[in-house]
Symmetry: C2
Subunit: 248 residues, 2 copies
């Protein structure tokens, strides 16, 4: 466990070797062992292994090569559809078509996704979470035929690694931890927490390659820009409403 | 790993034994190893170990005894504040005050939370996720002094177990898995997936204790009722806007 968690790195190059059925089954079962609100299991795991379907999904993930190279994608969805259907079949009137239950279902889905990822890594596989999922969630929903009450929250690429990346640096643990109450940050503390990263040769190269004078501007001017962030916000919120998660 | 994931059960009775510092440190570090969008680490972990603070938080969690019995609560927050502050200090203009970045930050926070929970269990501790967090997130935010750009998404209770509950049943794994596309459910399939649960003596007792004629109605009429769901949806969405996650 400890080793699996502490050795995690996102893998972006994969062999085409298929996943053995027993391993896939084990990974999916691991997902179901995560905590879930009221034991309702408000998530679905859409497993895409066919080449044809991965090619269809590839543009939704900006054609990152791993999407078609790796043998398997799991689109992790918040899902109140199945539970609501069970309720209706029992003459009970479900009321999970609202924002609180999007948050609950997304929570269930993401805890399950992390179990899935860790179990895959424990079994010698590599994984990568695809943040592009919420950028193009409407198109993914169409391709995967997701009904009302189901919305993609993330995607996990799974396969045998064809690279061995170094462990990614993180901010010092104290950067994200607060004791008793949120302690806030002084400018000097922010400088200190980011110092190692900002001084690394790798980051200096990234800054130079982007023609900027510091790393923060690489994020705000290149990677995650206001106009894109607002477009994604609007389209994902629109989908949330269309899928029936905002009948407040 | 496998064992830790597959042996997980939520613990609701705790000894008051404090957490050793080295174990707490290890658990918090494990959280930081989870995948995070753009390596931005958009979460904060507010660790509450003082008796006084746990008593203040208890009403936010409906005074469940474990909140004051267990030595430690971790309120897991989506956090774009720290990253945005870093950007501003570098003359970069952050644009993470919108819905897409609530979803990204909540994703980061929940993947980190599951690492934290699993590492705690691996170290012999018990854990319980508190879904009450989003019911009372505004009050929790006040108690923990959370600034703009920070919102609680879940809470993890951590401590040495004072009970040994049985493994919780889950739906058969195939209930939550779909191959290639979302396959939908027939009424007969729903019956079959829920059969074991609905026929269990424990569930029959719960149905009888609630004066209902089936388990689904226990959920819709008692545990998670429409008026409560809508009130929570409104208050959490309101907080999201107030904390600056909806400047679309």
């Amino acid at each position: 466990m400890r080793n699996t968690i502490f050795k995690h790195k996102s893998v972006r190059r994969y062999k085409s070797t298929p996943l053995p059925d027993d391993i896939l089954k084990d990974i999916l079962e691991a997902a179901t062992r995560a905590s879930t609100v009221g034991n309702m299991q408000l998530y679905s795991l859409v497993v895409t292994c066919s080449q044809q379907m991965r090619e269809k999904l590839a543009p939704c993930h900006f054609n990152q090569p791993m999407v078609t190279q790796a043998p398997c994608l799991v689109t992790v969805c918040a899902d109140v559809h199945r539970f609501s259907m069970w309720c209706r079949l029992r003459g009970a009137e479900p009321a999970y078509d609202n924002f609180a239950w999007f948050v609950n279902a997304a929570t269930d889905a993401l805890l399950a996704a992390q179990n899935l990822a860790l179990e895959a890594e424990y079994r010698g596989l590599g994984i990568c979470f695809l943040g592009t999922t919420i950028y193009t969630a409407a198109e993914i929903s169409k391709i995967l035929s997701l009904p009302d009450g189901v919305i993609p929250v993330t995607t996990v690429v799974i396969g045998y690694p064809d690279e061995s990346p170094a462990l990614t640096d993180r901010l010092p643990t104290e950067a994200v931890v607060h004791y008793e109450t949120y302690s806030g940050y002084t400018a000097a503390e922010i400088d200190e927490l980011w110092a190692e990263r900002e001084e690394s040769e790798q980051m200096k190269r990234i800054v130079a390659d982007n023609g900027e004078d510091n790393l923060a501007k690489v994020f705000t001017e290149h990677r995650y820009r206001r106009e894109d962030n607002l477009a994604i916000s609007r389209s994902y919120f629109e989908l949330l409403k269309r899928k029936g998660f905002f009948n407040n």
